[in-house]
C-alpha cells in the first residue's frame, strides 16, 4: 500500500502547511517589507475578512496594489499588498470604497479622516544615507509627501523630520533618490479600525 501512504503523507503535508509557523512568514523578513492598502484592518482580521476578490487592485489607479503568491504563507495567498519602493499609495481611497467585505474600511478622501483612520506604517529617515543629513541639500521626500508639514517637516538643508501623523503611504520612499533609499516605511500591522 505504498500509494495510500504516499497520498496520506501528501494530505498531512498539505494540512500542516496551512497551519503556518508565524516566524517563517515573510512579513518578518526585511526583504519583503510590505504594507496593506490604506484602511486595512489589523493583519489577523484582514486575512480572515479578505475574500481575495482582487477588486482593490483592479480599481487602484496607481496600480500599486500587488497580490501575494505563496511567499507570505498560504494564509495570505492572493491578498493585496503594497511595496512602497516599487509603487506607493496615492491615498485615493478607492480600494476601501470597492472592498465588498470591509477588510479595507471605507474612508473619506479628505485630509482629516485620512489622518485619523489610515495607518499603513510610519516613515523613518536613515540619517547615514539621507543626502540632506550629509550636507547635500535634497528635500525630494518632503515634496513627494501628500501631507506636507503635517507628516513631514523640513529643517536646515531640507533635512526631513517625520512626525507620528505620517500615514505610511510610502510616496517619500518611492521618490527617494538615494540607492538604497534613505527613508523607509516601517509597516504597521495593527491597522486602525473605523468605529
Amino acid at each position: 500500500m505504498y500509494r495510500r501512504q504516499f497520498i496520506q503523507s501528501l494530505v498531512v503535508a498539505g494540512l500542516g502547511s496551512l497551519i503556518q509557523d508565524e516566524s517563517k512568514a515573510a512579513r518578518y523578513q526585511t526583504s519583503m517589507r510590505f504594507i496593506r492598502p490604506p484602511g486595512a484592518l489589523s493583519e489577523h482580521d484582514f486575512e480572515s475578512r479578505c475574500i481575495r476578490c482582487g477588486q482593490c487592485g483592479e480599481i487602484c489607479p496607481n496600480r500599486c496594489i500587488q497580490f501575494f503568491d505563496t511567499q507570505n504563507g498560504l494564509a495570505s495567498l492572493d491578498t493585496p499588498y503594497i511595496i512602497p519602493r516599487e509603487q506607493a499609495c496615492i491615498l485615493c481611497m478607492k480600494c476601501g470604497e470597492v472592498c465588498p467585505t470591509g477588510a479595507i474600511q471605507k474612508i473619506e478622501r479628505e485630509a482629516g479622516s485620512i489622518l485619523q483612520f489610515v495607518k499603513m506604517g510610519q516613515a523613518r529617515v536613515d540619517e547615514q544615507l539621507c543626502l540632506s543629513f550629509q550636507g547635500k541639500t535634497c528635500g525630494v521626500c518632503y515634496r513627494a509627501c501628500p501631507l506636507q508639514d503635517i507628516a513631514i517637516r523640513i529643517g536646515m538643508l531640507e533635512q526631513p523630520h517625520v512626525s507620528t501623523a505620517c500615514v505610511g503611504c510610502g510616496l517619500c520612499e518611492r521618490s527617494c533618490i538615494q540607492i538604497p533609499q534613505a527613508i523607509r516605511i516601517i509597516p504597521n500591522q495593527q491597522g486602525k479600525q473605523v468605529t
Partner: protein, 329 residues
Amino acid sequence: MNWQMHLNKLRWVVLSMVMFMLILLPFLHLYQSYVAAHAYDLLSPAEKLIYDSMELISAPFVSDPETDLNSFKGTSWSGKLFGITLSDPLALLGQITASKHIYWPFVVTALIPILYSLLLGRFYCGWICPATFLYELNDNLGTWLKRAGLPISQRRLDRRIKYMVLLAGMVIGMLSSAVVFAAIYPPAIIGREIYYAIAVGGFGTGMVFFLLTLLFDLLVARRGFCRYICPGGALYALLGRFRVIRIQRNVLSCNDCAKCNTVCQFGLDPWHDDFGQECNNCSACIAICPTEALIFKIKTTDTTYQGAGHLGQEYKKQQGEKKPSPGEL
C-alpha cells in the same frame, strides 16, 4: 416546436459572455489607469493598442472612463456589474467562518445569488461559472481523445465528497482564519488568474491548481471536480434542494434512446428520472432529446421513476406487443 431545446445555445452565449467580461475587465482596468495617468504619449506601442481598443469598446457606454468604469469591477467571485455589487454565497460563507463575524453590507451583496440558487438550484454552475466554460471544453477534448483511442477513465466517485470538502473548508477556515475556499474554488481562481495574467504580469499558483483539476477531469472522472469536489457546487446544491424549476421526463414521448444519459456531463440519469439536487440546469439533455420528452417544469419535487418510455422497445415488450416493423414507424 419546443423552444427549450435552444436554451443550451443561449447558455453557451451566456458562458462566453462571462468569460469575455473576465478578459475584458482587466484590460479596462489598464485603460483606466492609463487615462488616470494622462500619459498616452508615454505608453509603449502594445499599451497604446490596449488604450485605443479599450477606448473604442467603452466609448459608447461611458463619458468619463476614469470614474464611470468603476461600476464594472471584479470577477464572478465578487464584483460590480452596472454598479451593483454581487458576491458568491461561498465567499460569504467562507468569510463568516473565517472571521466569525457578520459584515452586513457583504451579506446584502450575496442576496441575489442566494435567491436565484433557491429558485433554480445549481443554476450558477451551469450558466455563469467561468470554470464550467473551460471544464465543458475540457470534457469535449476528453471525448475526442477517447475517440482517438486514448484510455480516458470515467470513474464514478461518491457525490457526497463535495459536501465533506465544503465542511472541511469551513473548519480549516475557522482554524486558520483565512478564506480557504478562495484558493480551491475554480471560478474564483479563473477570474483572479485572468486578471493576474493580463494586468499584473503572469499566472500565480492558482493556475497550477486549476490545471490539475483539468487533468483530474480528464484522467479520473468526467467533470469530476464539479461533481465530486467543488465546495461551491455543494453549497449551491444544498441551497437548491427545494428549487422550483426542474427538468422532467414526459414518459409518453420518451423512446428510451438514452442520449440524455450520454450527454449529461454530470453523469445523472434523466432516462430514469434521476436528476436530484446535482442537476445544474444546463439543458444539454433537452437539446439532444429527439422526441422532446424532456422539458423544464415548475415543480418542487422530482418525479420517481416512471418506467420505460412509452415509445421505447422495453415498454412495448411489457405491453405484450410485437416489435413494430419498419413500415409501421
